[in-house]
Symmetry: C2
């Protein structure tokens, strides 16, 4: 009954809307009948080759329209009152929903992703670098590269790291496919199935993905405005005996928090005493537009416990997929073996182009522009949040990164309840509970994460207005 569903990924209509429409039509045509059980979202997502979120959104829309009904623990079914309809136009649809106003599907303002703003990507400069490299190196630029990475890029990264206070030799810099691969390789080199990874809660979604795939146990330590609550760290270590601590100390994703210097030192001392390596994620460190953040953990590491993972996806551009790991000694060799088995090497051309870009000196001017733009957008987002979000909503002012982490008032709807209504209003966000190591934590349900960097000032303003309106409507309807 869902066997021949086909979605068009190049349509302007969002995938979840195409899916909702297709399901509505099947119900109207009687292909799906009253009481029929729909496939679990994960399974349908796999079948259609879309994200699970896409299926969840489609189901949520139909649930809200009363076309589907959910039975906790049993699944999602075609609801009685709608199964017999024979005319699809009689079904309530997004277009017919008066609360959606004059919005076309394309106009959803997406605060949900993790990408930097496309209009700031240095496309022209990277293009010049690619052309220069192909001109200079010819076939060598498209042949196999050393597993460690293109040596001049490793030297350029080492030099760049010196500006952050990190002393690294080119030998200790290993080039990876983005920071995500840097994290994954380090974890594969250090942990076995069943081992425990300690991190903040909430934490980066990508590390939770890795932990699931690698069958690791994840334990989260709570955070506050200053990041990891280090006073809880020792007892957590004693209780769970982790093999690794993963942490993003600066402009943490999703909270935006920055660990102050004293907490960094406490963390390092505790890790050194317990002899547990610390995997530092530095991707947002340089996307800072407040006061200079404290140095990276790696720069403060007197004990040799820190492995530094970083990359150029957030500060230059994501699609070239260049990240790196700073790692020493025997672990370095273990990581190299994992990298060799994983994909032999990171594409030579991409490494050479990034090297050319770095040594051209273009990074510093580019970073200045991105920082200024992000800061402006953050300020617009903060002002609009103040104006449109419900009283009782709380957030901290991020001094870097691209996220606003908002706690909705507990007197109103949860983020998951707000989500489908917000979509109908033409705005999306990331549901905060997904970032927690334990989603059942009571306050987790009320958090949302907004990426303000991807939208223009006017769309941020309008998106926040829609979000406020959606919240009011959701509270009125659902309570």
């Amino acid at each position: 009954m869902t066997a021949h569903l086909r979605l068009n990924k190049h349509s302007a209509e969002p995938l979840y809307r195409q899916l909702a429409r297709a399901l509505r039509e099947r119900i109207a045509e009687g292909v799906l009948c009253v009481g029929d059980k729909l496939p679990p979202s994960r399974q349908l997502a796999a079948q259609l080759g879309v994200s699970r979120m896409c299926v969840v959104n489609a189901y949520t829309e139909l649930l809200n329209e009363g076309i589907l009904m959910a039975s906790p623990g049993r699944g999602t079914f075609v609801a009685e009152s709608f199964g017999a309809l024979s005319d699809p136009s009689a079904l309530p649809s997004v277009a017919a929903n008066p609360s959606a106003g004059t919005l076309s599907p394309e106009s959803v303002i997406a605060f949900s992703g993790g990408a930097p703003a496309e209009e700031f990507l240095p496309v022209a400069a990277i293009r010049r670098s690619i052309e220069a490299v192909l001109e200079r190196d010819g076939a060598t630029a498209v042949a196999y590269e050393e597993t460690e990475g293109y040596p001049p890029l490793r030297a350029a990264v080492a030099q760049h790291l010196a500006s952050l206070g990190i002393r690294a030799t080119p030998e200790n810099v290993l080039i990876t496919g983005g920071c995500q691969q840097a994290l994954d390789l380090a974890i594969q080199a250090l942990l076995n199935e069943g081992d425990t990874l300690l991190t903040t809660s909430p934490t980066y979604l990508g590390i939770l993905d890795i932990a699931r795939i690698r069958r690791l146990r994840v334990v989260g330590v709570p955070t506050d405005e200053q990041g990891l609550r280090t006073e809880l760290l020792e007892s957590a270590i004693i209780a769970c005996r982790p093999r690794l601590i993963y942490i993003a100390p600066t402009h943490h994703n999703p909270t935006g928090s920055v660990m102050p210097l004293h907490r960094r030192r406490v963390l390092l001392r505790i890790a050194a005493v317990a002899d547990i390596p610390v995997l530092e994620d530095g991707v947002y460190h340089e996307l800072s537009y407040g006061a200079e953040p404290p140095p990276p953990l790696k720069a403060l590491d007197e004990y040799g416990v820190v492995i530094h993972a970083n990359g150029f996806s957030k500060i230059v551009l994501p699609g070239v997929r260049i990240g790196y790991l700073v790692v020493e000694g025997a672990l370095r060799q273990r990581v190299l073996r994992v990298k060799q088995a994983a994909d032999i090497c990171t594409p030579s051309l991409n490494q050479r182009a990034m090297h050319h870009f770095l040594v051209s000196g273009a990074l510093s001017g580019h970073l200045d522009r991105v920082r200024r733009a992000c800061q402006q957008r953050r300020d617009v987002a903060l002002k609009a949040a103040q104006r449109y979000l419900p009283s009782g909503a709380r957030w901290s002012v991020p001094s870097g990164g691209v996220y606003l982490w908002i706690e909705l008032p507990h007197s109103g709807v949860t983020a998951a309840q707000l989500y489908p209504v917000a979509l109908r209003h033409g705005v999306s966000f990331a549901i905060g509970a997904e970032f927690f190591t334990d989603e059942s934590e009571p306050s987790a349900a009320y958090f949302i994460r907004l990426n303000f960097a991807q939208q223009s000032a006017s769309r941020i303003e309008e998106g926040m207005r829609r979000l406020g309106a959606a919240w009011s409507e959701a509270c009125a309807v659902l309570r």
Copy 2:
């Protein structure tokens, strides 16, 4: 004593020679004394950031010079007779070795690698594709890509596969970082630590790397000129209960064998009965210059047991790192989750450039040129082998791929004994024993693998002459 060794990766002098020289100097200077134990090759390789093969080669050279001595099970030591020398120039060196003739270190003819010939890489065409894509797509070409891969590339690959008899929908094509990542993702999605992987013996080195990293048990089934000996397959399956069969049926690396149609069918039927998925490696399938090989296993698969891994490294160019996996159903979704955790996505620009190259129609003409060139080089290699290699050496004529798989006469030296002598003569090869799942198999010691595609006709001829001379010398000295 090896703490401050530094090698220069950008020197024209090969790394193993630099290392051998540095060790000689240390011994001469008394930093390393008589009876001192050298670090295990793996450890020194890790410390220096070089391959283990580099250290093994350096040690072998010094062992042959009598400067080091090996004690089985105990390690490698500075030999008595040389420890006291104070003048490094008194030591025998590569340059002083008369058998090396007038060769400079750069002139080593390397038959050892796995890369295609650089002069055939379609650099100009790929460059045009990259430029066209950047012009057409701008920032989108350097933003994040879908984890599944760039949809038009997946469609183009599906279409390309149709020409090989493989029916695949774009949904079932997942783009990966080269074929190596395709293999690794499939294995991660299917196997847990401790599971058994069944393959041919010998087999692809990269699959042995993956098995080591993933802590899998590897069981090898012997091969003959027609590849996997399928008559041994059922009993091997019963004995070891594998979770996956990995196989390269066409132009097998290292042997060059092609499984005939009936063996393919037998393999598929046995795998289907035992309900064991078959991971097919198709990277050399199209590099065929004899009779048309039988269809890929995936094209013959009536049972749905085959996962097809492939890529463009061998037929177009390696440095762009584009491979793919053809996979259906629930496994497809598992692979996607592994890919997401591994590196989020394969670089967008590389995917778009490969797509542009494919739809430009350039592949077919390019493949014709590469096939012709490889065939010519194979013919030169066969003729030269006939002329220069010792009588009693045996090989099959490969009808595709880039390798000549040679069994040296068992009356002479082993491949490992030949290796250092061959290096001194200015020619290198891959030692065959490393490709066997069980290196202690008696005949394994006499195999060598030569990549003939990377060298010009005159260098193939000269390399084979050196190999023959090295074999004669090695036999005279070592026996």
